[in-house]
């Protein structure tokens, strides 16, 4: 078969196939449109679902980050001495000596130094 013959054959076949599609019955065309619509709906659902999941994940992550920042800020701002009792003060509190003695402690120290020097 020569090339012209082959071209004519394929051209005629293509034309006949196009004609057969153009004259598809209404039921078939309707079913094809229905399938196409279902496929589009499926594609839309597929596109929507990951976005929703992504936004949920992002919201959760943002909320967690906010809580963590807030917690760190509270920890950093909290005065350390609020609850901690210095060890020097513990001696004063637990001591049985009169509080006046401690109030005049500098005087007694000076007096002691003076005695030692003399």
């Amino acid at each position: 078969m020569n090339q012209d013959n082959e071209d004519k054959l394929t051209r005629n076949i293509k034309q006949t196939l196009d004609d057969s599609v153009a004259s598809l019955d209404g039921n078939t065309l309707s079913r094809i449109r229905q399938i196409r619509g279902q496929a589009i709906d499926k594609a839309i659902d597929k596109t929507d679902t990951p976005q929703s999941n992504w936004s949920i994940i992002m919201s959760g992550a943002l909320a967690t980050a906010c809580v963590m920042v807030f917690a760190v800020m509270i920890l950093l701002k909290s005065p350390v001495s609020n609850h901690a009792v210095p060890l020097d003060d513990l001696d004063l509190i637990s001591s049985s000596e009169s509080l006046e003695l401690y109030e005049d402690l500098e005087f007694y120290e000076w007096l002691e130094d003076d005695i030692l020097q003399s």
């Binding site: 078969m1 013959n5 082959e6 004519k8 054959l9 394929t10 005629n12 076949i13 293509k14 006949t16 196939l17 004609d19 057969s20 004259s23 598809l24 019955d25 209404g26 078939t28 079913r31 094809i32 399938i35 196409r36 279902q38 496929a39 589009i40 499926k42 594609a43 597929k46 596109t47």
Partner: protein, 157 residues
């Protein structure tokens, strides 16, 4: 294309539905220009699966019933919307039937190669991708298909 391969409208529509769903399920995020070749590849794959499943069943059918009773192309039932005379309609129907039978009788791979190249206008490489075979195989299948069709169809074609 699915209808020519299966010879059954319902099966062809089922294959079409499977292929469309598969396309949106797996490749909806791909570039739109890829959709055509991807859809064709999926469709060809589905047709091949169907063909394998039904090969044995069809053999039994052909043994126990005549071909005319077994297969009636949907195009035979279609209304012609163009204003053609009954003679022209009859001639067109005969032509379509003749072609349909010739194509349907081709081995599946020849049928696929021929329809993708001639009807869809795919290049050898695109057809090879859709059929998941080499370009050389496409050329061989196509060439054999053309020769087989030439033998089956009369000189008016």
């Amino acid at each position: 294309m699915a209808q020519i391969a299966t010879g059954n409208k319902d099966d062809a529509l089922d294959i079409l539905q499977d292929a469309m769903f598969k396309l949106v399920e797996k490749y909806a995020d791909r570039d739109t220009k890829d959709w055509g070749p991807l859809f064709t590849t999926i469709l060809q794959s589905r047709i091949k699966d169907w063909y394998r499943r039904n090969q044995v069943r069809n053999r039994f059918r052909s043994w126990f019933s005549s071909k005319d009773e077994e297969y009636e192309a949907p195009i035979q039932q279609a209304e012609d919307e163009s204003a053609r005379t009954p003679e022209q309609l009859l001639q067109a129907d005969r032509r379509i039937d003749e072609l349909d039978e010739a194509l349907h009788d081709l081995p599946l791979r020849q049928q696929q190669a021929f329809l993708l190249r001639t009807w869809e206008g795919y290049s050898v490489e695109e057809t090879a991708t859709a059929m998941k075979c080499s370009a050389g195989s496409v050329k061989t299948h196509y060439s054999r298909a053309v020769h087989n069709l030439r033998d089956k169809l009369d000189e008016h074609w």
